[in-house]
């Protein structure tokens, strides 16, 4: 074979292989299936309406069998107190499961700082939970395929498959993941997958007293949550990480991280 013929043949081979691969990508049945999913679970939180009672945390821990006395939780409430001297004080004692009952800010290590009413500029509560990101960094780093995104956008953890390496816990920019104290596998909020798949509200949404938490379907244009997200001013946390979080907030302040 001449050198010229060899190059010609190689070129043809590469083009054919490339086309075949491209075609294979185009007609991937999974992608066609995914495009037909008519559900995209999202969350909408109105920080104005959170009273910091922590009943959502209590309900979540009982519903999802997270040992109640442990400090870990699938969802939590943060308190932000902004004082007139320009300082930001924030705490979330025990994930807020017992509510916020004192003006004392928990500084950790058993220390507290009491903030007087006249020093407060702004004070508010921010409920947090898994953002069920469109580009979940926790899923990308899993070496064994134990964590994944379902068709409706919810990120789940396969307890039988998880090897407990903790990569996903490090990868989540929101600090949502932790090790389950009993199962010793990665654990996270999954929007109460057993409830939403039966058409129920999540435990935290149901327990929420002032309707601060709402669950929605972004692919349903008539969903009130979707309408709010599409027409009103909403904000997401840590947009700069590029994970496209799907927990939207109204009445949030820039001090919230």
């Amino acid at each position: 074979m001449k050198r010229r013929d060899f190059f010609k043949l190689s070129l043809k081979g590469v083009i054919t292989a490339g086309l075949a691969k491209g075609l294979f990508e185009l007609v991937k049945p999974e992608h066609i299936l995914a495009s037909t999913s008519n559900i995209r679970r999202v969350f909408l939180i109105d920080a104005q309406e959170c009273c910091g009672c922590g009943l959502c945390i209590k309900a979540c821990k009982l519903e999802n069998e997270i040992p109640y006395e442990s400090s870990v939780s699938r969802t939590w409430i943060e308190r932000y107190v902004l004082t007139k001297d320009g300082k930001v004080h924030a705490d979330a004692t025990n994930a807020g499961k017992d509510g916020f009952t004192s003006t004392k800010i928990d500084l950790g290590m058993g220390k507290y700082k009491d903030i007087k009413k006249e020093d407060i500029k702004k004070a508010f509560f921010v409920p947090k939970l898994c953002n069920q990101c469109e580009n979940p960094s926790c899923v990308q780093v899993c070496p064994v395929g134990a964590t994944y995104q379902a068709a409706d956008g919810v990120v789940l953890v396969d307890r039988k498959w998880c090897i407990g390496c903790g990569y996903c816990i490090m990868a989540c920019p929101y600090g949502v993941r932790f090790f389950h104290p009993k199962y010793r596998t990665a654990e996270k909020c999954n929007f109460c997958y057993h409830r939403i798949s039966k058409g129920l509200k999540t435990a935290c949404v149901q327990a929420c007293v002032f309707g601060s938490r709402k669950l929605g379907n972004l692919k349903d244009p008539n969903d009130p949550v979707t309408k709010t997200i599409m027409t009103e001013r909403v904000w997401v946390l840590k947009e700069e990480y590029g994970t496209k979080p799907q927990v939207y907030y109204t009445n949030l302040s820039m001090e919230v991280r």
């Binding site: 991937k28 999974e30 992608h31 299936l33 995914a34 999913s37 920080a47 104005q48 309406e49 959170c50 009273c51 910091g52 009672c53 922590g54 009943l55 209590k58 309900a59 009982l62 519903e63 999802n64 107190v81 017992d98 509510g99 916020f100 009952t101 004192s102 003006t103 009413k117 407060i120 702004k122 004070a123 508010f124 509560f125 580009n135 979940p136 899923v139 990308q140 395929g145 134990a146 964590t147 994944y148 995104q149 379902a150 068709a151 789940l156 396969d158 039988k160 498959w161 999954n190 997958y193 057993h194 798949s197 039966k198 129920l200 509200k201 435990a203 149901q206 327990a207 007293v209 002032f210």
Partner: protein
């Protein structure tokens, strides 16, 4: 090819074959690339059903309504109607069969979750009627004087 090259090569090929055959048996049939593609959808499909099969514990106030209609009508129309029954009475699960009796949380801690006054005017919390739990009858359960189903002045 010389023998000292060929023999280890055979061993390597054999090992690869063993791994591939073992993989056939170990990896579940439903493990693969699902809806969200290779990057996010690489998982065991059966796990989705395992999550869906988790027991529902909080049933919501409509579950309580029929048997406890008296309490339901008593609380409806009061400010406390916005609070789910199970937030204080505990998750119903399969009540009345299992558990036959729910443990009502009557502790002060439950009431002061909302009614410990916090001077946070920029949220809904600042608008809730509240007390200072250290000064307002410390040590006594709130339900000694107040009926949570008729949230108003003391009895």
């Amino acid at each position: 090819m010389k023998n000292h090259v060929f023999r280890p090569l055979l061993v390597v090929i054999g090992l690869v074959a063993i791994v591939l055959i073992a993989r056939l048996f170990i990896v579940p049939k439903d493990f693969g690339v699902w809806e969200r593609g290779y990057m996010y959808g690489w998982h065991r499909k059966g796990n989705e059903d395992e999550w869906k099969a988790v027991k529902v514990k909080f049933q919501g106030r409509e579950y309580c309504k029929d048997c406890h209609s008296q309490q339901y009508s008593q609380i409806s129309g009061t400010p406390h109607f916005r609070i789910q029954c199970e937030n204080c009475h505990g998750p119903a699960i399969d009540h009345p069969s299992d558990p036959p009796k729910l443990n009502i949380d009557r502790r002060r801690d439950l009431c002061i979750r909302c009614h410990s006054y916090l001077p946070y005017p920029t949220t809904v919390r600042g608008k809730i009627k509240g007390i200072n739990p250290d000064e307002h009858n410390p040590g006594i359960e709130c339900v000694m004087c107040h009926n949570p189903h008729k949230a108003s002045k003391p009895i």
